[in-house]
């Protein structure tokens, strides 16, 4: 039996399944956070493996908590977009308050666990990441400026720095370079998607670049950011903290990003333009996974064999 006040308290029995709570955490974003935070962690001097695993878990859960708080706040606009209408809150499987409580609880525990397991500067940086994503990006920038994902992208770019800080208690040039890669990668990645979903964003009143600047200007921006991204992606190898395998992958990937951006820039109308933009969106995900994947594998090989790169 459940105690329900149907008149005004809204204490209806929850119909949410554990899977709905998992969806709130944005698992696909979390998988990228695991990889990028691990890269930051492995760039640092070695830590006790148990501390490393717990730190990684805390950072990942912190990122998931940001996702839950984002879905709580954005439920009104998620309802209006086909891409997000099936999320647990707009679909009616989970109440907004449940998502808020879940997000706050996970934020609290992820920061505390990282502080206890690793150090408090890293925990502070994780808390700042959650604050930045939820307050600065979700509540402020997302609905107010087409630069939303440019400035807000910093939140998604911070995990490697948090990972590095978890091992050392500080930041370094290498962790800042990894931050820069994700930061510059975010706009062409999201704008490629936004080109195809501009009707969705328009319906929800979100000022994404294609809706405000127009598709042509957005295509130019994608090209410019991709031209900057390619050399920045090479930086870990040029600066000597990544090996030749990373150098080759980042070179080929950078060429692919620029080539994709040129195709997006040139093909502007019709179904073909849409397919090319979605293709560029997909390739950008592959690019980032490949860069950080190779970086992680290289570091693991280095640690396992003791061979200097």
């Amino acid at each position: 039996m459940s105690l329900v006040n149907e008149s005004n308290l809204g204490l209806a029995a929850s119909s949410a399944s554990p899977r709905d709570y998992v969806v709130l955490l944005k698992p696909r974003v979390m998988s990228l956070v695991v990889l990028t935070a691990l890269a930051g962690l492995l760039l640092a001097p070695p830590v006790h493996p148990v501390i490393g695993v717990i730190s990684l878990l805390a950072i990942t859960v912190g990122a998931g908590a940001s996702g839950a708080l984002n879905m709580w706040y954005d439920a009104d606009i998620d309802r209006l977009m086909a891409r997000t209408a099936l999320r647990p809150i707009p679909a009616g499987r989970l109440a907004g308050g449940e998502a808020l409580a879940f997000g706050l609880l996970l934020s609290f525990f992820s920061v505390i666990v990282l502080g206890l397991a690793a150090n408090w500067p890293a925990a502070g940086l994780l808390a700042f990441t959650i604050f930045y994503y939820v307050i600065v990006y979700t509540m402020w920038l997302k609905r107010s400026t087409p630069q939303n994902i440019v400035i807000g992208g910093a939140a998604g770019a911070l995990p490697p720095m948090v990972g590095y800080a978890a091992a050392t208690g500080s930041i370094s040039l290498s962790s800042v370079v990894l931050f820069a890669i994700i930061f510059i990668w975010t706009p062409p990645h999201f704008w490629s998607l936004a080109l195809c979903k501009s009707a969705d964003y328009g319906r929800a009143g979100i000022p994404m670049a294609p809706n405000v600047w127009g598709p042509d200007s957005t295509r130019l921006h994608i090209l410019v950011y991709s031209l900057v991204l390619a050399p920045v992606g090479l930086a870990p190898w040029l600066l000597g903290f990544a090996g030749p395998a990373y150098g080759i992958v980042s070179l080929l990937g950078g060429v692919g990003m620029v080539y994709g951006a040129i195709k997006v820039y040139r093909q502007r109308v019709g179904d073909k333009a849409r397919k090319i933009a979605m293709g560029n969106f997909g390739f950008s995900i592959l690019y980032l996974f490949a860069l950080f994947g190779v970086l992680v594998v290289e570091r693991i090989v280095l640690i396992a064999t003791g061979i200097m790169l």
Binding site: N5, L9, S17, P18, I51, I54, L57, A117
Partner: protein, 53 residues
């Protein structure tokens, strides 16, 4: 404003999901216990063998 509480039976589906949520919460708490235990042991390190005479 007066409030009126009514006891409303859960549907079998709601009961099933509540049970699943409870299991998930139990699992999460168990993971937290393991995490805090592991942190304690690692932080103590070799000192864990130090015993007062």
């Amino acid at each position: 404003m007066p409030t009126h509480f009514v006891l409303k039976p859960l549907t079998p589906e709601q009961e099933k999901r509540r049970r699943q949520r409870n299991i998930a919460i139990g699992f999460a708490v168990a993971v937290l216990v393991v995490i805090f235990y592991a942190i304690t042991i690692v932080k103590l390190g070799p000192n864990v063998f130090v015993r007062p005479d």
